[in-house]
Subunit: 200 residues, 2 copies
Amino acid sequence: MSEPTTSEPGTRAARRAASAQRILKAAQAEFGEHGLEGTTVRAIAQRAGVDPSLVIQHYGSKSDLFAIAVRLPGESTGDDLTGHLFDVLDVRLSEPPPETRALVRSMLTAPEATQAMRDFLNERIANLARASDRDDAELRAALTVSSILGLTVARHFLKLDALATEISGEQIETVLRPWLTAALGDGSSDGGATGTGPDA
Amino acid sequence: MSEPTTSEPGTRAARRAASAQRILKAAQAEFGEHGLEGTTVRAIAQRAGVDPSLVIQHYGSKSDLFAIAVRLPGESTGDDLTGHLFDVLDVRLSEPPPETRALVRSMLTAPEATQAMRDFLNERIANLARASDRDDAELRAALTVSSILGLTVARHFLKLDALATEISGEQIETVLRPWLTAALGDGSSDGGATGTGPDA
DNA sequence: ATGCTCGCTCAACAGTTGTAGAGTCAAATT
DNA sequence: AATTTGACTCTACAACTGTTGAGCGAGCAT
């Protein structure tokens, strides 16, 4: 009686949206652990506590769900994507968000993920290179971004001993940041360590 | 009449060995392109020009074949493994060997490959760190190795624009090597460059 | 030449996969 | 209260997976 008719979030449509979200979260987690090919629709459904066919009903297909779970960028300039890899570096390196985990996990085996990662990193490199006037700026930017990628993989996916989750923290940033900034701006044969002057 | 009895490589056993090798090469190529889960025994067989069941007859199972195709190190100190990742850096960065491709491709999705990669890189880091006396030597070694890993992934698997196969060559090494050596030996806040003394 | 050996293929199976369609039951509408 | 809606589950299917065992046919020893 109290509420109008159609599209107001009441109980049935809200529950449906909640289901969709639960499925999406489950999918991100599962994709992030086992990759696109490694995760089954049934596993996602079980994790979300629903029937496998409901997953399809909601998202059309496993591939579509993956694309959404990973937020494949269309061709945007990357406004909210500016973080994605770099807040893993800039802010603090604790744990990558689920979407990033899902994307990185599949980037070597799923063509869609490879393409998405390639696009993302290419753009990131171009942005970085644009800030420098060196002639090898692009190569240096690529090396920088590659290093960050390697660090993410080594730390959060391979879980190397020296980069264990608890051991490091911001110690990594302390060592890495001047390294990277030097690599971007400073030449190899040039003399001065002209970094931004990090605290001792 | 001319030849003895049993194990001399004549025509039938030699052909068998040749088949085994052809299967192995096909497996490495296929694993290197699509990863462990992404490649089917049938695809390997077709590439080798044999029946799928022969693949199993030769190598027992798909997992066993993968382990051999990737040469999972048991616990050895890594004598011939010293190359594997570093000759991709040191010698010249053209194309990783098939075994490396197969291993890297699956390292994020196949637990066996993850473990193998982890072991390999951990040991590599330990070796590198042992050559320095800094207290953060291990962390710096890990960062160095991670960078190389990231570069390999970005260049040969993601095929980033700025690291395209033809564009770079040894230019990458020119830029990267002093960068890495500096990162290993030289501190950001410390004054003295007490490293091994890079040329130029 | 004859019988045996054995590298290889054929056919098949049991399990798993993504996905479609019919059916169910509670909630919303009248 | 009766009816319709629609979110969800059940059942099923066709395709594909790794793997097995029987059988074929060429190479070997006698």
